[in-house]
Amino acid sequence: MSADGQGRRHWFDDEAGPVVRPYAMTRGRTSSQGQHRLDLIAVVVTEPHADDPEADHMLAPEHVDIVELCRDAPQSVAELAAELDLPIGVVRVLVGDLVDAEFVHVNRPVPPAELPDESILRDVINGLRAL
């Protein structure tokens, strides 16, 4: 981001405010990095050995937040975006970095068409009934 304010007109508004830093950080990289885009319900799980992400100076505070959030309870990409108040595109890039650095792994959702049998759907129905 240029310091003189050029090109900021559509960027530095109230809505976009908080995303400036992370986007500046992720600038120059695409969210896909040749792999499939992370689904909104893909689940991010912190690796057990990632116990001190803050010691890694390559990581931004937002990276560390993700590692910590997903340690106790794995979280979906959508939940991370809402929790950290970051656009989904930014979360995808950050998670991609963390996967590359082996701090986290990602479980991609199984498309319903590829479910091995109907038992999961039956479980969903029973679960909804029991709510």
């Binding site: 090109g7 960027w11 689940v43 794995p74 939940e79 109907e118 679960g127």
Partner: protein, 201 residues
């Protein structure tokens, strides 16, 4: 999530996740429906868009592009420790339909909400899911003061295929929303069974 790491250092459960979409025109009750069953208050996530209405995928030079954001609500229902259902309210405006493409990929199915005072607002959603062979159910949200029509008339007005379930619902009522969601999953099961038949015969 409500399931914390156990004291003994057991690894956390990695749940299977599924999603159901909630579609329909502005003010039809999508956010209300999500809120009625979600265990978390409906959350909003944002996607950054270029002016052309495409998601900002390549973050290079994003500051020079005209950007805007689109928000969508979502909710979560933990059915079991290892099974989580997410609900996503689709953004209303048609210019955000690329978001629908992303949301509907891998979706179990959808609820299309309809308001009898302006059924035409639901045409686009019905059309969308039909074209993509995504199983969906129509929930007629019964607003006070809205005229009640026989189910058959609503079906006809929406030009629904015979196989598409239609039910009256109240997006504010948890039980009613549960019924609608169960209806979607049952329909998705029947749909999958049908497709298997077509493949094997």
């Amino acid at each position: 999530m409500i399931f914390g790491r156990s004291e003994r250092g057991k690894p956390p459960v990695e749940p299977v996740t599924l999603k159901i979409l909630v579609a329909g025109g502005f003010g039809v009750g999508k956010t209300t429906l999500v809120g009625a069953v979600s265990e978390i208050r409906p959350l909003r996530t944002e996607e950054l868009l270029t002016e052309a209405g495409r998601p900002v995928d390549d973050t290079s030079g994003v500051e020079g592009k005209h950007t805007t954001t689109v928000a969508m609500d979502f909710g979560r229902i933990t059915l079991r420790e290892d099974l989580v259902l997410y609900l996503f309210g689709t953004p209303g405006q048609e210019r955000f339909w690329f978001m629908w493409d992303e949301l509907s990929e891998g979706a179990l199915g959808a609820v299309v909400l309809a308001d009898t005072r302006r059924l035409e607002d639901s045409f686009a959603a019905v059309d969308y899911f039909e074209r993509r062979s995504i199983p969906f159910l129509v929930g007629v949200n019964c607003f006070e003061g809205a005229p009640r029509y026989p189910v058959e008339d609503v079906r006809q007005a929406l030009d629904l295929d015979d196989g598409v379930p239609l039910m009256m619902c109240d997006a504010r009522d948890r039980e009613s929303v549960k019924e609608a969601l169960i209806g979607v999953v049952q329909h998705a099961m029947a749909y999958a069974a049908d497709r298997r038949q077509t493949v094997t015969t």
